[in-house]
């Protein structure tokens, strides 16, 4: 049996995983990255519209800073986010984008002088100042007070991922392609705590099983969108990373019910048309060609937060205003008003996708769109360091994790930003851990061999079991349940059915036979079989979490409980599957403390205020107001922040410095 030793094992070669790898390597640790596909093909490449960082270079971003980015993110999360994590994030995002600029991302730059833009369907002239010329530009995105989303046309994720992977090549980082982690190796350590020691890994080309043993193991495998039949996600976003964490019985998953639906995926294939379409001035229209969003959201209109727009679109379709098609009702995304030049320069991918998949010209024709599963806010629950709350030595970051930057709704442009920022920070915490004496690997090789044998046994069973269940059938059933019963609007009755049906599928998934393809090497049918077993568990955590959460918060919207209930539900759903034989995970809740919040819970500003407030919110708000008043006499925004919620001591020292802006000079303290 092949056992490979390394300091840090990174599972997943997208932006988050690669940034962790470059970070720990720079600190002198050995690292191996495992990736299902060549890293440059990871789903990070599909991020189109941009990356949020409060640079404040462009005229429409003037005055932007960490405070405003922080407030937008917390409001966007419907107060579900961890405010300490959000603070760490907004302070590091400008550094991340500047680092990427130095590594080669050709960010779109500010052009001095006047330029035209479309705002609220009107042509307006915007003037860019001289000293901003050549600095990184930004566009408008949903749910943000400033134009903060930096971009390279609508291929932002692609450019970022290429720069990052090229950096990994420069650093000679070991990347093993077409490798899939099937199980985490874990045990009770000599210090009597649960410890992760690496993973059992399958070579997808040869079928060989091997073990990677490491001091620290990082899961950066992205989201679990593919538990739904239609998703904007790449087909490799199957939640396997979350599943192998869950299957340890020790690591926990957080807020698995928090799933985002993007307003504008094209119909029927579910490919994304970036939020940049609306950020740049595009609008949504109904069957009559009528622009309906201002009626629902007079202030933010088409650029309300994603969860809000997706719900309003669904409501509008339910009123009979959708456009009927053989694939069900849809609405229109109109970007014709932006003009051909703008579309061919700043919305190139959307332009290509419209031509290739729909046979339409978006400079002339409207694009058929519908809200579609897009992002997983939930994931492996971690501390602010990225380490699992319950399994030492296991780390996670990016979409795979519930760090928890996004709470119950992520802002557009905050996902690629999170991948890189979390990668930067978590790399430092991992390197600290690996530097410490207590991180020494203290596991016997027979334990490792036991884990390999166990996985080999499962694969053999799948291949030899006769007349069992068809994995394709189970998977389709699961996808349909999630689509129909755990979607944009949810209710107790449907969710109860969903959980029951998924429990049945879970039982059946234990008797899968791999049919018509018996190879032990590259074998798509075998891969589908073991992934389906894992995906059904993930689907169950999402559906069960949604059933239990009897309130509406962010993207989790219950028709039978339309209020956001801070009194009872200002807490994170935590799931653990410690008893393998049970058909549901164990659930607990982690309270979110109002008394330590910099931004106490309030009204998000969409529709009617339906919040059931927590009594502590008003008390904390009062304290915050008083501090603000006191600070206004002698302090600045930094001293106020420090007074309300100190966090800088938690950041790695190299990332504590303030960020320079055109109107905010540099001071190194």
């Amino acid at each position: 049996m092949k056992i490979i030793y390394t300091d840090v094992l990174v599972i997943g070669g997208g932006l988050a995983g690669l940034r962790v790898a470059t970070g720990v390597k720079a600190r002198g640790h050995d690292v191996t990255v495992l990736s299902l596909v060549p890293p440059k093909r990871s789903h990070s490449a599909a991020a189109q519209g941009g990356m949020q960082a409060s640079l404040a270079n462009s005229a429409m971003g003037a005055g932007d800073n960490e405070d405003i980015h922080f407030a937008d993110t917390i409001k966007g999360s419907d107060w579900g986010a961890d405010q300490i994590v959000a603070r760490m994030f907004v302070n590091t995002a400008p550094k991340a984008i500047r680092e990427l600029a130095a590594w080669g991302v050709p960010w779109s730059r500010v052009q001095r002088g006047d330029h035209q833009a479309i705002i609220n369907t009107k042509k307006v002239t915007i003037h860019e100042r001289d000293d901003a010329h050549g600095l990184i530009n930004a566009r408008d995105f949903g749910g943000t007070k400033k134009w903060r989303t930096c971009f390279t046309s609508d291929g932002t994720g692609h450019s970022m991922l290429y720069a990052m992977d090229n950096k990994a090549h420069e650093q000679k980082i070991d990347v093993q392609e077409r490798m899939e982690a099937l199980a985490l190796i874990h045990d009770i350590s000599s210090k009597n705590e649960h410890r992760c020691y690496g993973a059992v890994v399958r070579n997808l080309m040869t079928g060989e099983l091997l073990a990677y043993v490491a001091k620290a193991t990082t899961i950066a495998t992205g989201g679990y969108g593919r538990i739904f039949s239609v998703s904007t996600n790449a087909i490799i976003c199957e939640g396997i990373g979350q599943a192998i964490a869950l299957e340890t019985g020790v690591a926990t998953l957080g807020n698995m019910e928090a799933i985002q639906f993007h307003p504008t995926a094209i119909v029927p294939v579910g490919i994304l048309a970036t939020e940049g379409c609306r950020g740049d001035g595009g609008v949504l229209r109904d069957v009559d060609g009528y622009r309906f969003m201002p009626d629902y959201e007079p202030e933010k209109k088409d650029l309300a937060s994603r969860d809000v727009v997706s719900r309003r679109m669904t409501e509008h379709i339910r009123k009979g205003k959708g456009v009927a098609s053989r694939y069900g009702d849809h609405l229109w995304l109109d970007i014709t008003l932006l003009g051909r030049d703008h579309i061919e320069k700043n919305l190139r991918e959307v332009n290509d996708i419209c031509h290739n998949f729909l046979g339409i010209d978006p400079a002339k024709d409207w694009i058929p769109v519908r809200p579609t599963q897009h992002y997983s806010m939930g994931g492996i629950r971690t501390k602010y360091t990225g380490e699992s709350s319950t399994l030492k030595g296991l780390y996670s970051c990016g979409e795979a994790a519930c760090w928890d930057l996004h709470g119950f709704n992520r802002l557009g442009g905050n996902s690629v930003s999170e991948t890189v920022v979390a990668g930067m920070l978590v790399a430092e915490y991992i390197a600290d851990f690996c530097d410490a004496v207590h991180s020494t690997v203290d596991i016997n090789s027979d334990v490792v061999e036991h884990f390999i044998k166990c996985e080999q046994g499962k694969l053999d069973t799948l291949l030899t079991y006769e007349n069992g269940e068809d994995a394709y059938e189970l998977r389709e059933a699961m996808e349909t349940i999630m689509m129909e019963k755990v979607g944009i609007f949810r209710n107790g009755k449907d969710l109860e059915i969903a959980v029951k049906e998924l429990q049945k599928l879970l039982k059946r998934s234990k008797q899968i036979s791999v049919k018509r393809s018996k190879s032990k090497a590259a074998n798509p049918a075998l891969e589908n079989a073991y992934r389906t077993q894992k995906m059904i568990k993930i689907a169950l955590t999402a559906a069960y979490g949604a059933l239990l959460r009897t309130e509406s918060r962010g993207a989790h919207s219950r028709e039978d409980y339309p209020e956001r209930n801070d009194k009872e539900w200002l807490k994170r759903t935590i799931m653990q599957w410690s008893k393998v034989e049970e058909d549901l995970p164990q659930v607990s809740y982690e309270k979110i403390d109002i008394n330590s919040m910099e931004l106490p819970p309030g009204f998000r500003g969409y529709g009617k205020d339906m919040t059931i407030s927590h009594p502590t919110s008003a008390i904390r708000q009062q304290a915050v107001d008083q501090a603000r008043e006191k600070n206004s006499i002698i302090g600045d925004r930094f001293s106020l922040q420090e007074m309300l919620m100190p966090y800088k001591h938690l950041l790695p020292a190299k990332y504590r410095t303030k960020n320079e802006r055109l109107d905010e000079g540099f001071s190194n303290e």
């Binding site: 596909v37 060549p38 440059k40 990871s42 789903h43 490449a45 599909a46 991340a96 500047r98 680092e99 600029a101 130095a102 080669g104 050709p106 779109s108 730059r109 500010v110 052009q111 050549g134 600095l135 390279t152 046309s153 291929g155 692609h158 090229n166 090549h169 420069e170 392609e177 080309m205 079928g207 790449a234 087909i235 119909v267 029927p268 294939v269 994304l272 069957v287 009927a324 098609s325 694939y327 991918e349 996708i353 998949f357 024709d365 409207w366 791999v514 049919k515 018509r516 393809s517 090497a521 590259a522 074998n523 798509p524 049918a525 303030k658 320079e660 802006r661 055109l662 540099f666 190194n668």
Partner: protein, 265 residues
């Protein structure tokens, strides 16, 4: 606009598509290359992504192919479609005849059926050409970023759009004769870094990388690369530009060498 917009893409009566697929699993002892034919019914808006998954689901579960984004963004699914390299995911069956032949990309190591190992090839190329920004000093990321002319940033992005799908390599005549040729994907990378002011390498440095018979002077200008590039990269003009630049460097160094020889010391 009308709601029949998408529906109208469907042919009136569903066609029967005959897929002739080159099958071979090098990991399977005794397996031999062969063409297998699968017949499926066309559905509206069907892409090769949908068709191949249909074949795998309903006909042969062992059929190997690669898709990731299925949106024409990631470059995983390049294959030879009716004799021409292209991305399978954004190829609509409606644009093809009822007989469709599919084969894996040539040049790259075969994993099985339509799946090839482009990753190691591209990484090897990247390392050979040192396809990353070469900087002299680290930028302090707490400070304002270095400004860049907006038009130049756009120009770099234009070349940065390559998705390493391998179509240009599969469509290249030169590489059939010269295994070590860097191909359009390699030359495009150099063209991209050559105009990027953040990369401090000089033209002479680039000459070291591509100024030989496996580099820019090997290209026979057949331009199959430009014809098949799914991202419509300006490969023809970039290769011509690089050749001119590299020729200048080459001639200068030849002159320098001549001077060295003829000047008495």
């Amino acid at each position: 606009m009308s709601n029949s917009q998408i529906a109208s893409k469907a042919p009136k009566q569903a066609r029967q598509l005959h897929f002739h697929i080159l099958r071979f699993d090098p990991h399977l002892k005794g397996d031999k290359p062969r063409i297998e034919t699968f017949i499926i019914e066309e559905s509206p808006g069907m892409t090769l992504f949908i068709a191949l998954n249909d074949i795998r689901r309903n006909h042969d579960a062992s059929l190997k192919f690669d898709f990731v984004c299925r949106a024409g963004i990631c470059g995983s699914c390049a294959m030879v479609i009716n004799g021409k390299p292209g991305l399978a995911c954004h190829t609509l069956t409606a644009t093809l005849d009822t007989d469709i032949s599919l084969a894996p990309l040539p040049v790259f190591e075969l994993i099985g059926d339509l799946s090839v190992y482009t990753g190691n090839w591209m990484r090897g190329l990247n390392e050979r050409l040192e396809a990353w920004i070469h900087q002299q000093e680290e930028h302090d990321f707490n400070r304002l970023e270095e400004p860049m002319e907006p038009d130049l940033a756009d120009e770099i992005y234009e070349l940065d759009r390559c998705i390493e799908c391998g179509c240009c390599i599969a469509g290249c005549g030169t590489i059939q004769m010269r295994e070590e040729f860097v191909g359009a994907v390699g030359l495009n990378k150099i063209a991209r870094y050559q105009i990027d002011p953040r990369d401090k390498r000089s033209d002479a440095d680039y000459y070291e990388l591509i100024g030989d018979e496996d580099g820019v002077f090997s290209c026979m200008t057949l331009l199959g690369c430009e014809d098949v590039c799914p991202k419509n990269l300006p490969l023809q003009s970039r290769i011509a530009y690089l050749r001119r630049k590299m020729l200048q460097i080459g001639l200068t160094s030849v002159q320098d060498n001549c001077l060295c020889v003829s000047t008495p010391t």
